[in-house]
Point group: C3
Chain length 267, copies 3
Amino acid sequence: MSKIITSAAEKILEKQPAEVFEKEKVVEEKREVKVMSVPSAITEYVGAARGDTIGLVIANVDYYLHEKMGLDKKYRSIGIISARTGAGPQIMAADEAVKATNTEVVSIELARDTKGGAGHGSLIILAAEDVSDARRAVEVALKELDRTFGDVYGCDVGHLELQYTARASLALEKAFGAPLGKAFGIIVGAPAGIGVVMADTAMKTANVEIVTYASPDAGTAHSNEVIITITGDSGAVRQSVIAAREVGLSLLRAMGQEPKTDTEPYI
Amino acid sequence: MSKIITSAAEKILEKQPAEVFEKEKVVEEKREVKVMSVPSAITEYVGAARGDTIGLVIANVDYYLHEKMGLDKKYRSIGIISARTGAGPQIMAADEAVKATNTEVVSIELARDTKGGAGHGSLIILAAEDVSDARRAVEVALKELDRTFGDVYGCDVGHLELQYTARASLALEKAFGAPLGKAFGIIVGAPAGIGVVMADTAMKTANVEIVTYASPDAGTAHSNEVIITITGDSGAVRQSVIAAREVGLSLLRAMGQEPKTDTEPYI
Amino acid sequence: MSKIITSAAEKILEKQPAEVFEKEKVVEEKREVKVMSVPSAITEYVGAARGDTIGLVIANVDYYLHEKMGLDKKYRSIGIISARTGAGPQIMAADEAVKATNTEVVSIELARDTKGGAGHGSLIILAAEDVSDARRAVEVALKELDRTFGDVYGCDVGHLELQYTARASLALEKAFGAPLGKAFGIIVGAPAGIGVVMADTAMKTANVEIVTYASPDAGTAHSNEVIITITGDSGAVRQSVIAAREVGLSLLRAMGQEPKTDTEPYI
């Protein structure tokens, strides 16, 4: 990889900086798709968002596929949030979506992905009796992603992810067994060892309760992450999440990295 | 990745085409190996093919290794098809190989790979009583890959893969429980949500039966794919596979992508 | 990836080849961190080493986290070796660390990682009654990595990894059930088929015993590797490991690759 870049760089150096810059930009923009307002001819397509996330809807799932997917008989319409990069941001976004619409979370699956990174992609399926509810839920979720990616910090050797809500809903319950209506936080560090120190810091910072602990061998899709989730009073959860973020950022910086978010921190 | 290189190459080509072209070619060719006719000093080496696939043969597997691998005692010779990128193309190719030779499929394993992509690599082991049969099977499989990669469409955010045969044989039976001698299709979409819509479209297009459904949590090596396999009358299976391909291509295009095959579509 | 392109592009734009060269070097060096002697403000940070490995220590693990991690009550201090790239090198390094210090190996987990490569990252947790022992163990392990990466050979289509010790200790016992105090070897090939041929060659070269066999479906985190471990007389184990290395290198070269180590072979 680095060899190829270097050799490309050597060649580029030989001429025309300005033009190269313009064209390079195009390549960059294609790497991660933006939410699109262009109407699509495909009725199933709802939109796309950061994290290479696609939002889809099926009005009336085929009977036999429905059965193979293990969906509850009462739901014929499904909304789909599917992403190459990120699980936490999409789960948080789905949590807001089910709060705001008449839908249910039927499944949350994690893929080992992030396009060569250390983490997860995700496949979230929401169900509704009416397709307009499913579509609305997917739209809400896609819009939430700008916020829920706020505390995702990436760099070459790893990444951090922090999530916080004052009131957990059904997606967080489904994914992590979060207590409904209570404050809830997600703390992720990669490589996994950084997640262990972040978890320890979070637990020592305030009076919070640990809900889940996941590591490469258990609770992840073999991602190189340690992930804990916590609950408690909203102030305590928020304080713990922030402390975990700060120690995680310091550790990545100690490795000579500059972890960055692509959007605005929200916690 | 290769797209970026290509576009970099296009830019570079504007000055000094000849020299740059020569150098770029070297880089490109190393990225994905071609079937080689150069004789190798290693007797186990049969050849290499697209998808970073290597074909190997062992005339007489070591007794203790044989046991640890769980191979049937009656087979001492094995043929190996091992790839970084692709499982469906290699399984289809192995299916043709066992039709054409006196070999058996002993195991098909999927790795989470594709070099940072969303899908699988594969390790397929064929067995024979005679090493020349094993070698012949591997040769047939490597040659088939140019065809079976025909309906693999890649782009930055994901990929599609479609396979179709009028008559499933032992590799497809081993991998998916395909009914022997019947028409069979494989439909893959990544990110996984695209696979769900492709599956739904396939099932609604013609009178086909769903054989397997796999998703990041079940039936895959945590790849970011939904994979279904279908059977039925050959016309119906083919029609369903084509419909799935078209909706998959449209969804990737709706995300601003240009999914492309590296070879010629065959379905 | 995109970061590198962008920063490369920015530099190129300045059109000053000499300076660019200097800066490119910086980018390159950041790709894999070196052991750092810069003191860190974070008390948990011990250091970083090749393979994007971070060494950490927690003096007194939080009570509830301790419980969730399933750690033995008697150990309050832990040392952490966590890496994006490599499992064998870190396990071998931890093996030396526990020989040299008063620590125990409590867990070894493999992540599917190597940043888009075919292999594993790792999370190793050592425990001690006293934090200074845990820190010392992590320091020893980080230093060992320059040696234990000696027979890791990478190239675009795959990699090989070889490890050998005359006397296996507790980390190798924990990870592979290695017989304590005996010679022990690890043989890894990727794509997995290359590992099968390396394993076969190793077993036929000398009178060694196979301890474990792992493949994409079993014993790995779905990496595209076949991994065997062997034991026996030290001369025989070493001879088998070397023979496996030679056949592996020849197979990758037959695919048109130039497998290389980043450091010095030690076997």
